[in-house]
Homo-oligomer: 337 residues x 2
Amino acid sequence: VTIRQVASVAGVSPSTVSRVFSRPDLVAHRTRQRVMDAAHRLGYTPNPVARSLARGCTGNLGIVVPDIGNAFLALTVKAVQARARPDGYALFVADCDDQVQDDERIVRAMVPRVDGLLLAYPLMSDETLAEIAALTPVVVMNRELADVPSVLIDTTPGARQAVEHLHALGHRDVVYLAGSDGYSNTCRLRGFQETTRRLGMTAAVLGPFEPRVSAGVRAADLVLAGSATAVLAYNDEVAVGVINRLADRGVRVPGDVSVVGFDGAALADVATPRLTTVRLPIRAAGVAAVQLLLDVVGGADPSGHTPARLVGELIVQASTGPPPDRRHRGHRGRDET
Amino acid sequence: VTIRQVASVAGVSPSTVSRVFSRPDLVAHRTRQRVMDAAHRLGYTPNPVARSLARGCTGNLGIVVPDIGNAFLALTVKAVQARARPDGYALFVADCDDQVQDDERIVRAMVPRVDGLLLAYPLMSDETLAEIAALTPVVVMNRELADVPSVLIDTTPGARQAVEHLHALGHRDVVYLAGSDGYSNTCRLRGFQETTRRLGMTAAVLGPFEPRVSAGVRAADLVLAGSATAVLAYNDEVAVGVINRLADRGVRVPGDVSVVGFDGAALADVATPRLTTVRLPIRAAGVAAVQLLLDVVGGADPSGHTPARLVGELIVQASTGPPPDRRHRGHRGRDET
DNA sequence: ATGAAAGCGCTAACAC
DNA sequence: GTGTTAGCGCTTTCAT
């Protein structure tokens, strides 16, 4: 059912019907009423595709994530979609399954279908990213690149808090399980190194590990091979992998080893013991990203944009505690089972 | 950059350019080469919006889920999106956050933007669902409705296996924590009741509970108030909630109470102890749903479709074991801490 | 306040 | 094989 049919039923011209649905204030009250009636009777809804073509904008936004199976990213998508909808935007979602080459392909395919693009942890190179950003409004999450507006969750303070927390509990020998290179890992690493140095702690870095439970399982054994009494993991998935593997090897958490994660999404409260973690403002970040994107779509100049910065906060739960007494050292691990 | 500019640069008519991009086989090799060159030089890409309008189809699919924060649904979206992409379809994703009224609104808003719609666990009434299905090709997941093609994960056999497993371990008194009414719950309930009856077990049903960890926490106390030695939970989230709460109350799993879940997505391997669960073929279901949908979009008659049925399978892990010895009954729970 | 007319960029008969 | 010609359904000047 098209605008013309409505027009003829309502006894007005197509343009009037169009106005009723686009700028109702421009139409006389009575006429509008008549048109609305006719439209309702016919079950008319403006065709968004035709509208897009005529208006030159789609009313769609897109988001590309490396893995929507990751709780953090799923919640990001949820927040983004919830924020975009009230503004009338529908959201394309694509998951590149951690493949760099797919990442770029997918993004390029999405460009002409959307008014703007949200890139969460994009895998592509800086050059490619800049190219894309020149094509269409783009906001990146957790990546910094000159002239591309971004929303950053700064986990440096969170990492700092985590290390201070461990120090206060009595830990002097700690290890950070790094993620792959990028803004998020850089923040965590910086907070970790700064603070361990400042507090005079013994600090090691292992990795990088993929942000998955399975990588954490692998990491746990490397941790036990060293002398650390506490672990700061790149994210909660890795932390959970560590915890589970430690449990399997008879190492108690937090009795023998303390573990801290990052994210504070679904996993932290599911793990046993409940994970001490740096909780990230996922929803707020999603909302901020959409707002920023809509600004840019609306014509704001993206080049000068200073990144929106949010911070996480350490939530102390049950996976951290005092280190084992010195005299018990060496008894932990397998031997103890 | 439009088709016309390419045409003039290549020295052909716009239709030829169009053909090159839609049905290349209809164009002479040399001409095609010339057009491709021109297009490449100009950086031309067909505008999908204009194409949609002219062709009368969008090249988009949509999926609406009740909560993408749920691992099961996130993986469903992942699978769907992965299957749709190679066929050139982009995917709209909407999350109605478990709100019935949003569910319908969102779906209706999506209809004109897509060629077909995937509805996972739709909340809307049968009537509304039928209306929607009359508007556009629809495939529902885990819901049955005459004349709407569907993909069902039949968990009846899985539930049966779970109960048999518990019976074999020696359990005689079991409880099912129901989810909200719907196909999934019906299957599980049926398998549970059939099998407990057949094996002469004492069986109780509690609920319904929302499919979340928090509901499982609540459920755990209700379980302890009864006499059951084993719990079949609606899904893994509920099962994890139960386990965690039992641990907090000093009840051992599986020493005192055994717990079984459904889904086998992320949670099962993260829980401590690792969850015995009925693993569902999530990805296969997503793929099947897309294929079915594309068939219908392609003109297949949806009315006669017999639902695609997949089944889950019990994966025995560490959350189930023999029940405590009779003589210890009554000692479990708080008293034991 | 409303109508007429010219597109938005592409496709699809239909001719040649 | 390729070009010509109408649209797809809506928006938007520009008149009136």
